[in-house]
Amino acid sequence: MIKHSKPILAAAISSCLLISSSLWATDITPLASAKAAPHQTVKLPEYQTNQNVSLDMEKGKVILVDFWASWCGPCRESFPWMTSMQAKYKDQGLKVIAINLDQEKDQALDFLDEFKPGFSVLFDSQAELPEDFGVIGMPTSFLIDRQGNIRATHIGFHQKNIDEYESAIAKLLAEKEE
């Protein structure tokens, strides 16, 4: 496994060298063809504060919106990673918002109790958002730029791809503010 992943990584990094202006192998959608994130004004209750918050309240930040549920194994793996991303890139303007889709809220609460997320968690128990975002697997995460456009989508959470996820975040953070 370990032996296997390094050449892949090396290949990923060297492949991005071919693109002169950019270093990233990730599939960042160019601004021109990016779509605005849907439902930015929908207010959902936040786990940490019990306040109703919406995505547009964080406009100006790079937002990682992650759709998850307590019964989903890969979601479990992604939690520590999202906590560390939030901590690492907070000062650069990253906001991680994980939207919970459990239909039984108790299960979500038990999960959150165990995993103690270091990022914002919203409850969408009526599943208002995922359809229009185009969630096709669990978890699915969307990277939204400072202008509110969806610029990258990751389906699932794979340890072997975390450097790619992080590069995408770093790139969007570095994009200049307008």
């Binding site: 299960q107 669990m138 978890p139 699915t140 699932g156």
Partner: protein
């Protein structure tokens, strides 16, 4: 009689396959199916022990399923 059963069985297959597109759930509605108990073979070891007994006591064996279900995550 036997032939008829064969034909009925084989006909049922494409019907089931084509009928599938309307069935199913959204990715976030898989909470129940994600339970380990909802795997079609939830106890592989127990099933293999049963199969071993029936294999040595009856003329028919095999043909059964493989795992399936699960959270269908990503």
């Amino acid at each position: 009689m036997r032939r008829i059963i064969h034909i009925v069985g084989l006909l049922a297959l494409p019907i089931i396959v084509s009928g599938c597109s309307d069935l199913g759930v959204k990715p976030w509605e898989r909470d129940v199916l994600a339970q380990q108990e909802m795997n079609l073979i939830s106890d592989p070891l127990e099933s293999s022990l049963d199969d071993h007994i029936y294999f040595s006591k009856e003329a028919s064996s095999g043909g059964k399923g493989f795992g399936g279900g699960g959270c269908g995550c990503n």
